[in-house]
Symmetry: C2
Subunit: 341 residues, 2 copies
Amino acid sequence: MEAITIKDIAKALNLSTSTVSRALRNSYEINPETKKLVMEYAERMNYRPNPIALSLKDSKSKSIGVIIPEIANHFFSQLINGIESIAYNLGYHVVIFQSHDSYEREVANTNYLVSRKVDGLLVSLASLTTDLFHFQDLMERGLPIVFLDRVPKEIETHKVVADNFAGAYEATKHLIQSGRKRIAHLTSPIYLSNTTERLAGYKQALEDHQLPFDESYVKYCHYGGKIVSENEAAIQEMLSLPEPPDAIFTASDKLTTGCMAVLQQKKIRIPDEIAIVGFTNIGVADLLNPPLTAVVQPAMDMGQQAVELLIRLIEHPQKNAEFEIRSLKTSLIIRQSSGHS
Amino acid sequence: MEAITIKDIAKALNLSTSTVSRALRNSYEINPETKKLVMEYAERMNYRPNPIALSLKDSKSKSIGVIIPEIANHFFSQLINGIESIAYNLGYHVVIFQSHDSYEREVANTNYLVSRKVDGLLVSLASLTTDLFHFQDLMERGLPIVFLDRVPKEIETHKVVADNFAGAYEATKHLIQSGRKRIAHLTSPIYLSNTTERLAGYKQALEDHQLPFDESYVKYCHYGGKIVSENEAAIQEMLSLPEPPDAIFTASDKLTTGCMAVLQQKKIRIPDEIAIVGFTNIGVADLLNPPLTAVVQPAMDMGQQAVELLIRLIEHPQKNAEFEIRSLKTSLIIRQSSGHS
DNA sequence: ATGAAAGCGCTAACAC
DNA sequence: GTGTTAGCGCTTTCAT
């Protein structure tokens, strides 16, 4: 186990540690011969600099913290995929925490990551977070943060999101053009940027096609579909309306599959009785019954762009910053659940 | 940003750093009054020990490395879920790497993690790994490693697996009892422990029920279903047999969904023409067309038990060790794809 | 009961 | 071109 250190090399070669250090970093002031000697020996002994010592030295840990609602979710696991791939190539490692959509856990994770000295934070907000002090405070103290997917309006920094408005608009328009008149919207808590933007796209599509907007067709699920009963209740409410919907536009992975499950269990035929379009990155949309029409987010790409921005921020701190908001295109994949003929 | 250090406390309180250090660690040799003073001040200033300095001191990083084939996969993301939850509670953080089932990436990740000084490794082997030197070498140098799910026969250490034999046996038996006679098996490369064990369970079930074992009914997918064409080819071969199968037992998430996709595209009706049982943790098995009969692994639990074993190994290194192999029960969830009437 | 000093591995300012 | 030294934050002998 005992790893070889610069000191060992110095001793073996009868040099000082600084010379060795400089040689290894290919400093111009070192004699080429010495350099060669050192490098070859280091290579031969399989020397690896101790990253912890480096971290202690310049208080950089070459790691970034990621706080997301949950891992076991198609969208987020693809996001992580993108994050890891880029971070790895840029020499950073990634520490992942799940908030499970709880404000308290989000705060706890944030504090922990900061105490572990991450160089920056990548965050997708918990659905129940409304107070942003824990992030604002850190940013003021100079910690780079980039938000992605679920982003706060109130904080100025880089953000990477899907074009939720356009995605929702397209989904709703598609349902309208497939002949649906009473389109409901099953969505997450209104605090989320996602929710607001998707709701706006949905409304705009209705308006542009001369359909009335009816508040009672919009149901917010506090737990974003993770609690079955909540899901069921919301859908039951919709179905109990004097004019029940003939289509539902669902706003997330869990909400979509949850909704399909409830309809299936109630023996409501999709799309005959109710059409569905879901905002989801589920991998097997093709294989569902019926195959699911989906608004797909470029999750990998979102993850990649977010780390890039974060690492740029870490390595070139901006003073009076120009912050970017990147909005990536979603794509509507039409299958049978939307009843398109 | 500037975090408060022990030195700051010492200066503020007119004490030496060592006294402060001892007071904070509640050493018996410190005057209760001083102790109280220090602790209160530390609390008030929100002092947090610098974990990097601690790591450098005793060359423990309080982090564990995880190497798995891929994140964006139901089984593995649940596994990570379990791992993270326990590790977090025990004060460790988790660094995740994906091998993408490539031997080279597995080796590269291993080396990287070791150079980052993780305290231990949790590994699920890449499907193409046959040479285990990179792990053996580390273990001999004293690095604790625990394998899970895809484990090597040749290495002696703790291992956590699903009871693959029983799971496969049960799946196959279920197909037989549902009236199927020609049951094929679509699986991963034979090097994987999983593959061997599931194959054995499959064989045993056939034998116990007086059905012949026919080698041409078993297809190994080198890339485990991740390359569509390979999947297609394997299934095509099965279908072209003089006596094509009337059921397929698939050995993994990707293989299962891939198989369903191919059958669907070929307009082969499930389960009428071909029944399917899949070894998979896919979350929406219910919603598939048809609903999928599945052998489900206790992925969360497997992850949790594996970290526990690993951390135990890290904190109480065993000399002439007794190693555990934990084999956790799978459960067969019967739905329509297996044609059970 | 408290302080001084060394050391974990590395870098960099400052000698020479 | 190379060596000496101090310092990153903390723990831990060894003095007192």
